[in-house]
């Protein structure tokens, strides 16, 4: 069996060179000009003469006859469709390098299928054109395909990415800090006195290894110490402040940035894991994600704080039905909680917020109001992903991951 060479395939598509010459001769007779306009002019001329289509007169080509069908072209069509051609014709085509023999093993393979009913369409059948001589077995096209499992972003990660994008769209810059913090940044820089119950071991983790870190800039430490001793009236302990602990809340990051210097006015956020010892159940994990940050500006006030929180309710809670509740944090005054009305779950806490106390901002060198806010991301994700048990956010169940929806 034979198939077209690349040249043969080209001529089948565009026509043989002698046919092209024939067309040109109808418009132009000068050999010199035809040589330029006709590809493979010599081959074309040789076959056109042989076929008795043209003759040369005074350096010009003269048309003698124009055939309605050209056998050579018809042969190419036949080969392409694997129709039989004579040995003599094969010889000519081989000589012109327009066809080549199909590998015998391929032909042999294809012949095995001839006359049979096949399931898979073997490549040899296409190559040899012998697919014309086989029957195709019918499939049950209503049968559902075998499941396959594409690569996927984790559902919670997807939610986190969405939240991050949203905050960036709203003009917030992302901050981050170390997972292991000194108590100084986690507590002291936030004006939480060293004898505050929230610093008790029942409520936060501490480290066995390593145990102590370094305190930052001496002037800052001095200012924080003064603020504590003057306002809370106790002896501030430097050693305690340098104790290391896993970050217990995202707010630990804010004083680092405020001290380092931020754009004023400016908007900042962080989205990090935090750690607190707790009994693990459907509502509690020892490791959880918090979203928080601050908005800083000369004219920031309680009204703006409520406005910011309402905006979060619309962006993240899909509702403008909100309620503000007076709240308490050692580092903000005034402090507020915002609750939103969830369409299925009723009223729920969305965020805690407040204006950083001056006793906190002044030691950091900040002279303008700072609105601080925080959102419990795990709870928000549970609502969004319709999850009842917080442990499922970090599910160890591959089946659940594979079947969770992407939309």
């Amino acid at each position: 069996m034979y198939e077209l060479t690349e040249e043969g395939r080209k001529y089948l598509k565009e026509g043989l060179p002698e046919l092209k010459l024939l067309e040109e001769v109808k418009k132009e007779n000068s050999i010199k000009n035809l040589k330029e306009s006709v590809e493979n002019f010599n081959i074309a001329l040789q076959w056109a003469k042989k076929n008795g289509w043209v003759e040369i007169k005074n350096g010009n080509l003269v048309l003698k006859k124009s055939p309605s069908k050209y056998e050579m072209y018809e042969l190419l069509k036949k080969i392409d469709k694997r129709e039989p051609v004579s040995d003599e014709q094969i010889k000519i085509l081989l000589k012109r390098n327009l066809i080549k023999k199909i590998r015998e093993d391929i032909e042999k393979k294809a012949r095995e299928f001839v006359g049979k009913e096949i399931t898979n369409l073997h490549p040899s059948l296409i190559k040899t054109g012998l697919w014309r001589d086989v029957k195709f077995k019918k499939y049950n096209v209503k049968a559902v395909g075998k499941p396959i499992y594409p690569g996927k972003i984790h559902p919670y990660q997807k939610f986190i990415i969405k939240v991050r994008r949203k905050l960036v769209e709203l003009g917030f810059k992302e901050m981050t800090g170390p997972t292991i913090e000194t108590e100084f940044w986690n507590f002291d820089a936030l004006f939480q006195p060293q004898n505050h119950p929230a610093r008790d071991w029942t409520d936060t983790y501490s480290l066995k290894n390593p145990e102590y870190g370094n305190l930052p800039d001496k002037k800052l430490v001095e200012a924080v110490k003064r603020s504590h001793e003057e306002n809370w009236k106790y002896k501030w302990d430097e050693k305690k402040a340098s104790k290391l602990m896993p970050r217990a809340h995202d707010t630990a990051i804010s004083p680092r940035y405020l001290f380092k210097g931020v754009e004023i006015p400016g908007k900042y956020f962080s989205l990090v894991r935090c750690y607190r010892p707790d009994v693990i159940d459907a509502r509690h994990l020892v490791e959880f994600n918090q979203l928080g940050g601050f908005v800083i500006g000369e004219n920031m006030n309680l009204k703006n704080l409520l406005g910011l929180l309402k905006m979060f309710a619309i962006e993240f809670g899909n509702t403008d039905e909100v309620k503000f509740l007076p709240d308490y944090y050692p580092f903000t005054e005034p402090s507020v909680q915002i609750s939103i009305k969830h369409k299925d779950l009723g009223w729920m806490e969305l965020a805690g917020a407040g204006i950083f106390r001056k006793e906190l901002t002044e030691p950091l060198g900040i002279k303008v109001p700072v609105i601080a806010w925080g959102i419990g991301l795990d709870r928000l994700a549970m609502c969004s992903l319709n999850i009842k048990d917080v442990r499922e956010l970090f599910s160890q169940n591959l089946l659940w991951l594979r079947n969770s929806k992407v939309l």
Binding site: P150, P210, R283
Partner: protein
């Protein structure tokens, strides 16, 4: 800024709505309390069961609001039943409490009071006990900083001595028991002794209140005596003491107790507490003074309100307030513990005004948002992993030594360790993502194979140079498992990843105990080691109870990002 995980701190109190009505002197229903009542005391109704209401009081710095008496006093101001500074008349009781020098090294301070003519209802007794407990627990940090004793004054003969005794030197019947026990026995056997005994650990002698007839009142901060220390509806006159380490702190606790009993119709009498030559008269309810700047208040709240309105709002919060130039000067009763500076007064103006009466106004200035570079880079890597058909997993950064070391056949890693873990499952921070991935696979052995997973997350390592002696590193792990799978499969994945981010890398054979020898390589870019790749050692598979071959790689994305940028 989120409290949902902090249950320990926030006091939850229970009271009856009827009792509140009686104290208020007016009707109130649950809806009014919810919408226009409880918010004035930073409360939130948690549960309502017919007449009984459970309320979270969110201000851990306002212990005066941790009882229905305190709540009623505050609400009377907001309902305009009684505004301004509450009045308290204190008469002299003539009782003396002699503080022995010996208590100095044990539990050095006490303040005391007498409250007479009590007619305590069931509700009232419940409230007083609840208040006493909440204050000792939260404000007193589990009785360490403040413990409160309430006694039947009619059974006591003054003067009272506050002194110490050795463990076997003294016997008394502790509350709820019927036999006499030594101090040592009480600490060992009484439930309260077992619970709070650690507060007296290492002391040679224990603190004791004892009267002139040698009747023991109590051993603070552990337990009252059964004879004098039992208070019920028949108690008419009460002696109250608060013990601790700091006079200012325990005075607040005492003031809260006596003013609450005052709300119940009790008459407050002072006690002379003698510290050697120094004597103090307690309780001290003299109003304290503070001030705030009027313009600053307007600026911080964003509210256009007149000084007169501010005065009115503050009087509703039970302050005495007068305008003085550009300031408002206030007086308050020292059961409040929370007024450090003018902001604290401004917040009370806002709460009185009602947060929900303030029109919210979004900050209007324009800023450029930006995510962290490593997050942006992680997203790109995540996209490639998804394209490679990998499924993302999310695991905890806290792990166990068992998983990170023993199961991985590693013996000598310096891990970051927690000193107070709740269990050994959460005792150390992961230094690699692969163990968490293997644990994930072992939880999914019944799920269809192949399983191809990846995780992008932080691992933690020691770093002496850092302020926190530790360092967060963003890593990527890819783990593949199937019935037949080998080194070449993970090597192809690495090659695709590196090709798609346009980085040339080299592989070097290394030995690592978690991988099969001769099937483990380090991944190097520009002469920097950025990761490891190989086939997991069968013993590791056994340790994680895995039954199919596993290949894995782990790459430091921080380093990779620096190289690409």
């Amino acid at each position: 800024m989120v409290k949902e995980f902090k249950g320990v701190m926030m006091p939850t109190i229970e009271f009856s709505l009827k009792d509140l009505e009686n104290l208020l002197g007016r009707k109130i229903d649950i809806d009014e309390l919810r919408n226009n009542g409880i918010l004035f005391v930073k409360g939130e109704i948690e549960e309502e069961n017919e007449d009984v209401i459970k309320v979270d009081i969110k201000d851990t710095n306002r212990p005066d609001l941790w009882s229905v008496e305190g709540i009623a006093r505050e609400l009377r101001g907001h309902y305009k039943i009684k505004e301004g500074l509450p009045e308290f008349k204190i008469k002299k009781s003539g009782l003396k409490v002699i503080v022995d020098k010996k208590v100095e090294n044990v539990r050095p301070k006490t303040v005391c009071a007498v409250v007479k003519n009590l007619k305590l209802s069931d509700d009232a007794i419940k409230q007083i006990i609840q208040l006493q407990e909440k204050i000792a627990q939260t404000f007193g940090r589990n009785r360490d900083l403040a413990a409160i004793g309430v006694y039947d004054y009619d059974k006591i003969k003054g003067p009272i001595r506050y002194t110490t005794f050795k463990s076997n030197e003294l016997k008394f019947v502790p509350l709820g028991f019927s036999k006499e026990m030594t101090l040592g026995e009480i600490l060992k056997e009484h439930p309260k002794g077992k619970k709070y005994g650690y507060l007296l650990e290492g002391k040679k002698e224990y603190p004791i209140f004892i009267d002139s007839k040698n009747n023991v009142l109590s051993m603070p901060p552990i337990i009252n005596s059964n004879y004098t220390g039992k208070v019920d509806e028949n108690t008419r006159n009460a002696f109250i003491e608060v013990s601790g380490h700091n006079l200012e702190h325990i005075s607040i606790a005492l003031n809260i107790m006596v003013t609450a009993l005052h709300e119940r119709g009790g008459e407050v009498y002072s006690v002379e507490v003698n510290y050697g030559k120094d004597k103090i008269i307690t309780p001290d309810l003299k109003p304290r003074k503070a001030w705030m700047n009027i313009d600053e208040c307007r600026k911080i709240l964003g509210l256009d309100i007149s000084p007169e309105e501010m005065v009115e709002l503050l009087r509703q919060s039970r302050f005495d307030a007068v305008i003085s130039g550009n300031r408002i000067e206030v007086k308050y009763i020292p059961y409040r513990n929370d007024i450090i500076s003018e902001r604290d007064i401004m917040e009370d103006v806002a709460i009185s005004f009602g947060y929900n009466n303030i029109e919210p106004e979004e900050p209007k200035f324009f800023t450029h948002g930006e995510e962290l570079h490593i997050e942006e880079f992680s997203s790109k890597i995540r996209e490639i992993c998804i394209g490679l058909g990998l499924e993302e997993i999310l695991t905890f950064t806290l792990s166990s030594k068992e998983d990170l070391l023993k199961k991985m056949r590693i013996s000598d890693e310096n891990l970051i360790e927690i000193s107070n873990p709740i269990s050994s499952n959460w005792e150390v921070f992961r230094n690699s993502l692969i163990p968490g991935g293997l644990r994930f696979l072992s939880n999914n052995k019944h799920v269809e194979y192949p399983q191809k997973i990846f995780e992008i997350g932080n691992v933690l390592k020691m770093d002496e140079c850092m302020e926190t002696k530790t360092k967060d590193i963003r890593n990527l792990s890819i783990i593949l498992t199937d019935n037949t799978i080998g080194y070449e499969n993970i090597s192809s994945v690495l090659d695709a990843l590196m090709r798609l981010i346009g980085i040339k890398y080299s592989l070097e054979e290394i030995r690592h105990k978690s991988f099969i020898e001769g099937r483990c390589a380090s991944i190097t870019v520009n002469g920097k080691k950025i990761g490891i790749m190989g086939e997991i050692h069968p013993e590791v598979l056994e340790n994680f109870e895995l039954e199919r071959p596993v290949v894995a790689l782990e790459i430091n994305l921080d380093k990779l990002m620096r190289i690409t940028s």
